[in-house]
Symmetry: C2
Subunit: 250 residues, 2 copies
């Protein structure tokens, strides 16, 4: 398996055809997996938005006050309003806003970025990253596309690449019922492949839209395994999320 | 960047020199990163242990009863005893045992495996995976070694590769103070490289010790970034862990 960054991508503007930009800069094969950073996808989809378009309502002002008490800095209530509008549930209010986005991703500040865009703007995640991946794939000879983001996680330091959208492959490989050398059933049952692809891509992409926000994974073989469509957990099997609900930072 | 599995590894036995087994089967370079599955490392270190050596104490029997009420199956109190002996804290008692291991890793059942070993045995994680990585590295021409495991996580389905030990590199790249194209400071600050390497390796390794538990990552470039030694979170910055403490599954 081989990974390489797509070179010389220009600054992406609203309306740009991301697939076409990639196609023109990399000699792609059918079985490549193309991993594209959400920053680029969002910019092409016009998701860089002036903070002024998020006038803060009472809930946003209240959350901003709570954040100001507990967190460093002075959060802009309009930024909090943007987070609320992108989210279906606030899981943690302090010391940072952890929410579930409309498409099911759990992340700090609904994944909204304030770097990578002009002062006063925020960069929202793509509205439906799965649809974004499908659109990009239409312009590509490659059959598999993953839209990536980076985010932190409990228990472990640092950020790593994750998948927020995909097309042309299932998110997970299902090893249930498969056995090891000695015929014993495997302990690990479902492997989240798209998250692993996103993590691998992040090793060569670097960060901050510095010219390599797209990475080609060549030679990834799915193998003879069933697929699974599971990616974002439902609350029923997400015991940690259940534990977080209602918790408050003292 | 290129990844390939080390072929034809034999079944590893207690006392085996894992580094030597790898060296003999792959033409390694100095700047390779060698990712080795913890199963192999544990077997070489004699960590496959008969369940009978964990006679269950009162706490283990109590936890096993609670698990039997809430979870599927009938947990063996000796297995629970093994989990307790490998852990410094139980974070969640039901519907599964989520603990922090003695070396700081948070995982279900302290990462103890019941596949990959003979019936009646359990495979414990390496005692100090960082030391294991250092020992393996001594026998290798490669300068960087990562000991990997797979585990699940909140919010997202499926398991993915993670690093539990490393030697010859720092776990994270620190992008603090670096700026994007337009001179704005980057939003993402610390990238957990060893976890991303482990995830990438898992894409080509497969699971279950099926012959490819070691993967070489060739051409990974650290770049001109500061390093960080942070890997497992301390409780002070692990708000999700704080929220979990004391929560109980109804």
């Amino acid at each position: 398996m081989e990974l390489f960054a797509v070179p010389n991508l220009p600054e992406v503007r609203p309306g740009d055809d991301v697939g076409a930009l990639l196609r023109d800069r990399a000699d792609l094969r059918n079985d490549d997996v193309v991993c594209v950073a959400s920053t680029v996808v969002s910019k092409a989809e016009g998701r860089s938005v002036d903070l002024a378009s998020f006038p803060a309502g009472p809930r946003a002002r209240e959350l901003a006050d709570t954040l100001a008490e507990h967190a460093a800095g002075d959060p802009d209530p309009r930024f909090v309003q943007a987070v609320l509008e992108e989210s279906v549930e606030v899981l943690m209010e302090t010391p940072f806003l952890l929410t579930e986005t409309r498409f099911g991703h759990v992340g700090v500040n609904a994944g909204i970025d304030r770097s990578n865009v002009p002062e006063g703007d925020v960069l929202l995640l793509p509205e439906r990253p799965g649809d974004s991946a499908a659109r990009i794939r239409e312009s590509l000879p490659a059959d598999r596309v993953v839209v990536t983001d980076t985010c932190g996680r409990p228990f472990r330091h640092g950020q790593r690449g994750v998948a927020i959208g995909w097309d042309g492959l299932q998110p997970s490989r299902d090893w249930r019922g498969e056995t090891d050398r000695d015929g014993r059933e495997l302990g690990v049952t479902v492997e989240n492949v798209v998250d692993e692809l996103a993590a691998a891509a992040n090793l060569v992409a670097g960060e901050g839209d510095g010219g390599t926000p797209a990475v080609v994974v060549r030679g990834f073989e799915w193998g003879d395994h069933a697929g699974s469509d599971e990616h974002f957990r439902e609350i029923g099997t997400d015991y940690v999320r259940q534990a977080i609900r209602g918790w408050s930072y003292a």
